[in-house]
Symmetry: C2
Subunit: 255 residues, 2 copies
DNA sequence: CGTAAGCTTGAGATTAGTCAACCCGAGTGG
DNA sequence: CCACTCGGGTTGACTAATCTCAAGCTTACG
């Protein structure tokens, strides 16, 4: 509502959560069918963004949390010295904006990587929402807990893993994520630029490119531009050096 | 309750939140005086840990969230290859255990760095707690939002800052934290080992030591063992290279 | 007092970053 | 329709930061 000017036109508002194709992955999964209409009432469903549209900007008031319905976004922080750090990628089912709940100001900016649809949850109505649908609560804390756990996994990745391990881990987590959502885990298209991944992984674009090329040369993956094909999943796992249960399942914010 | 065997004896259970010296910093600050007794009912207040006592271990069931009342803890993740990564330090007022809310399993281990007192919030009673004290809610989301924002700040630190910048940032954030709680921001004692800080900052103990020594030689700080004295706050800020508002206020999980 | 853990220091190896050139494809305008 | 430009991506040569290995020191504590 408030950031309408940077958003595309709203899509068909009629679609309720109960009809939403995402209900298996969204917060909504905790909700009884009967309550879904109630929920729909609290949301601003189906806001459309085009590639490069900002969903919100660092430092602005937190008006909504968003659930990604389709498409993808990245969030990034700008530092005073002009650098940008990508801090997360978001795909369908992910909640975006949580980092603003502390200060009620967005702590990062979020921008669509492709044509993307999100549902907005106005924070001013969250209290009512919880009251009206206490089960949602639990689901919300689940989401929050997963996000924090993922962030901690990222610490490990950034703090003690090599460039190759970071990239391999990233590809695996993407693969896992796509698979989870019923797509191929072996072949997929990146919606983000290589340099976004590099930033996210704490690497320069050059180092990213070298490691990426190396993986291709070793035959572990095949790739043209942003189209990725994983040839040897085992080898990729090897390269990622993560067999621990806690990592394979949910690593990175992209998971 | 469940982990009593690794916990020290319980202290005087009589102390209620309204008498607690921490109420300015704890979740409780959102609560009306009249409701505090109600809250006390939900808690397991004042569990005592000695140095090196575990509060919980990675992979075990999440039974409680904890608020640190006094003392300090570190949380760390163990990877399959035997490495340990410190992912956070916690001081009075901090909530610990949030990373387990997703899976209901602790995602990290937590261990006391000194004699420490915590209040336990049983997760099984959280639903009741929210119902009974809806205002607590908001405070909880505030805490969660701050934690996520801090994690994102850590990404930047780990992804693109030099060893010196990381250490300087860490010291500043400690200083800020102590100051906030009414202690001196210029002189304080570290409760964690140097190697814990090194791990947290993604450095080897050797690199940490070199940078630490350098800061001492430059006269920016003075330190004997774990006693720190900040001589030149401006210089330290310089070394940290963070002037952006979002960073100075709340950086790192220690803030 | 003796041991162990934590911390420091040095020398050398290694990884990733920097600087710079070049390539490629998409979109633009002549 | 083609040349131009620009952003993104690649590659090479060199540099610098951090890690590794190794030894020695200091402190804490039984």
């Amino acid at each position: 509502m408030t950031s309408r000017h940077i958003l595309g036109p709203l899509l068909d508002r009629q679609i309720s959560c109960s009809e939403c194709s995402l209900k298996k992955f969204c917060l909504v999964r905790a909700i009884e069918k009967a309550d879904m209409e109630k929920l729909t009432h609290f949301l601003n469903p189906n806001q459309l963004l085009r590639r490069r549209d900002h969903l919100f900007r660092q430092g602005t008031r937190l008006e909504n949390l968003y659930v990604v319905k389709s498409g993808s976004l990245k969030s990034y922080a700008s530092t005073e010295d002009g650098l940008e750090q990508v801090v997360g990628f978001y795909f369908s089912g992910d909640i975006i904006g949580l980092d603003g709940l502390g200060t009620r100001l967005h702590h990062t900016s979020a921008i669509a990587l492709e044509t993307t649809v999100v549902c907005a949850i106005p924070v001013t109505r969250m209290e009512d929402l919880w009251r009206s649908l206490p089960r949602l609560h639990q689901e919300m804390y689940r989401a929050v807990g997963n996000e924090i756990a993922r962030d901690e996994d990222m610490f490990i990745l950034l703090a003690q893993r090599s460039a190759e391990e970071r990239l391999a881990t990233f590809l695996l987590s993407l693969s896992h994520r796509f698979h989870e959502h019923g797509f191929s885990g072996k072949e997929f298209t990146l919606s983000m630029a290589h340099q976004d991944i590099a930033s996210f992984l704490g690497l320069t674009p050059q180092t990213f490119s070298r490691v990426f090329t190396a993986l291709k040369n070793e035959g572990v993956i095949a790739a043209t531009q942003r189209r990725i094909h994983i040839n040897d999943l085992e080898e990729l796992r090897e390269a990622a050096k993560l067999c621990a249960p806690c990592h394979l399942k949910q690593t990175l914010k992209v998971a």
